[in-house]
Symmetry: C3
């Protein structure tokens, strides 16, 4: 599940070896070879996953994962090939750092100039643009000054990448426009607070941007942690928008300026989001939803709803709140 | 009305020709030569405009425009030199793309280094600063590293342009300070949603920044669509502010960090706007208005008002709302 | 108190001389030599300070400052070594401009390439990175493309500075990660409005970033005005965060995306702040405070509080407001 083009895997590790490195007990065949880490629903028989929330008990029971981090309290439905630990999420972060030690410091430092590249002659590149020798740039692309395209990034045909843009860990489709100062594939805000320190969660995913997407100036799009951040085709993002790690945005969505979407939230197709909206993490927002500017979204929203306010509610109810308060003010005034 | 220094006009087109290109019927003299596009109130006899909202019926009736896009339902007060279409705004966008085919992909790609320029010797320019050979830079200007000044941009005397700044399609006065990472003249968020596609509205305007303005780090200022985005003299913008296309900000306004102003809104002189405020598009905000931080402005505001809240109201009423809810909570508590 | 590594002091000035330059009367020994400016609580006997708010009357009475700007109305408790003026804050700004004439236009323009530097061989620097010859970079640091490190900036060991970053007037600890597009040490939003002009307040402080801090993409951190902006160790800032001048953030704080903190506010240790929060200036926020996303903070908050809303209140009260309005809506509905 981790893209080996972007992240170098130092595995495999045996169940015995990785348990030893993490000072954990395990149940199962210690010689079992683990090649990668993954989520419960996608892990294969040679992969390591974790289970720390009973909300996902079905996925745990059915997972094909070779080995799973789990606590004694939650292990119930599986008897073998488990690594026992108090905090499975924390141990998963540690394990990710073992498999992918270089993800925490992605190498920004390189000097493979455009001259070394085998680019199509239709590509127009300004001076001081750095394109890693292992990046692929499609036909008719135009890339502005002082932009940086990292290793193994793929950019499709007819894309416009403006000035002062950084793109890492990303696969970008055709006819995409990335305006000035946008940062794509940046480090997600993922970590676990400990007593006196912070355990970073390795950010091992990518950003996938589909065809005909536009992204406004100075916006930031973090790459996925495990799995990808996705902006589907035809979606339009205005300036200064923030898209956190593992967010998935559907097709033909419109997101106005200064809106922020927290980690792992999914947004359907054709949804329109006003400016300065904030959406909590791990939510599911339906298709053709309308979200008024400045709303704060804390719950899932079904298809075709129109919402406003914080916490958001049906937009008519939000307007009613304003009217109610006005009436009470008037009544108080009449009394005094 | 479109600045030919920034946008290359491919016209003229005859009424007959442009109607044919757009597959529309017309009424009037097919030989009429159209040199440009414009808005109803400013269009001249050789220019093409559009009318799609009865709110502007007087402007439509009195317009000097040579030809107007209009629907059959709305055409009433004019009998001739009309192009009939279902969606005049959509057709205007198409026509703009015909007159100005290069506006959608402004050319970010160039390599005319500072060495080729005929700059005053008082100008201080850092390395890796790109200044297009057709830009004009005033005396005593200082321009930081990795900044980009696009073709035909004019910058007055004594300006400070910091690092990682991009400026395109702009005319900038004297004593202006543009801090790090600011993007000026970027693509406006203008398009029309179609069933399975998006029709971009060509952004053919400029950004005009008058004397003694300051713009804080990582702010973004989109250029106008037709017409200009204007920041009048002595106005101060803090960091991470977003100014959309065709916004006009009066003199000596103060705009705190993270505030966003939507398209075509006009703000008077001496108005002070707190941080994280959002202002809807097409509004008129008066002179000497005070807007509390985090307000959401959805209606016009008259001179000298002080407002707060979302939707915003008189700041005293906003405070009263807080008191009312506190009282009701107390009453509920006393009951239970 | 002003760091002479960053700001060149043109003093000393005698009390007589500086009063003459500012056209003010003074009381005291005109020959008294003033070497610097400072705040009431930190000024020494050869330094100039100001007093303009009775809230600080104790600090005024006890100040060791050599000379103090004060109005006739407020001078009461001190009889000598005063400069009398109507607006002490305005005069302090003027005096700061005399002592430090170059603070208003920090010199962004330089061309001291990395090649001239005496860097440790463990440091990895990309092309087009500008490091001033008087900056100090620790071991094992990695600095991305198109970044700028200004004069006298100090960066500790093992730091990651990504692409398109600007750092001026700053002292940065070990193990710090500054992601793409961050601007540190930028000009604070400090000025005094006059009738027909704006008097900038010279920004003469620094940014101090302690060990193991991370700062997310496109965030902006203004330097202090007098005194420093401080981010204490282990604090994590997400993308597009704005930290104004003289803010002090404690240890191990977490600040989610798009939050803005206004000038001179202090935040304790272990405080967690959600996304899109706004905090007014000059506040004191305690230790281990929790602030819900989108809150607007206008008052001090004690240790261990959890708050939400705007104006913010206890988070339970904020939820009760939502329930109250829902009940009233239901009652209204039942009636109709």
């Amino acid at each position: 599940m981790i893209d080996q083009n972007f992240y170098k895997n130092t595995g495999p590790y045996s169940l015995d070896k990785i348990s030893e490195m993490l000072s954990c007990e395990y149940i199962g065949n210690g010689d079992l070879s683990l090649n990668d880490i993954s989520t419960l629903d996608t892990a294969k028989e040679d992969e390591l996953s974790f289970y720390n929330n009973s909300k996902y008990s079905v996925a745990y029971k059915n997972s094909s994962a070779g080995v799973i981090f789990v606590s004694n309290e939650l292990r119930a439905s599986r008897a073998s090939n488990l690594i026992l630990c108090e905090d499975p999420y924390f141990m998963m972060a540690k394990a990710a750092s073992i498999f992918y030690p270089n993800s925490i410091y992605p190498s920004f430092s390189f000097s493979k100039k455009v001259k070394n590249l085998n680019l199509d002659e239709s590509v127009k590149i300004s001076e001081n643009t750095f394109i890693h020798k292992d990046a692929k740039i499609g036909k008719n692309c135009e890339i502005g000054c002082n932009s940086v395209i990292g290793p193994n990034v793929v950019i499709g045909d007819n894309c416009l990448i403006a000035d002062n843009v950084s793109i890492y860990y990303s696969i970008i489709g055709k006819n995409v426009k990335i305006y000035q100062g946008v940062k794509i594939g940046t480090e997600g805000f993922g970590f676990i607070m400990q007593k006196n320190s912070i355990q970073k969660i390795p950010q091992l995913g990518r950003v996938l941007i589909e065809d005909s997407v536009e992204i406004g100036s100075n916006s930031t799009i973090d790459r996925g942690s495990i799995g990808d951040t996705i902006i589907s085709k035809l979606s339009m993002l205005d300036n200064l928008v923030h898209i956190a790690h593992n967010v998935k945005i559907g097709q033909a969505c419109i997101i106005a300026a200064m809106t922020g979407i927290s980690g792992s939230t999914k947004i359907g197709n054709g949804t329109i989001i006003g400016g300065q909206v904030g959406i909590s993490g791990h939510l599911s927002i339906g298709n053709n939803v309308r979200i008024a500017a400045k709303s704060g979204i804390m719950k899932n929203i079904k298809d075709n709803q129109t919402v406003a306010g914080y916490p958001s509610e049906n937009i008519l109810d939000w307007h009613r709140n304003t009217i109610i308060l006005k009436k009470i003010r008037k009544k108080n005034n009449d009394k005094s």
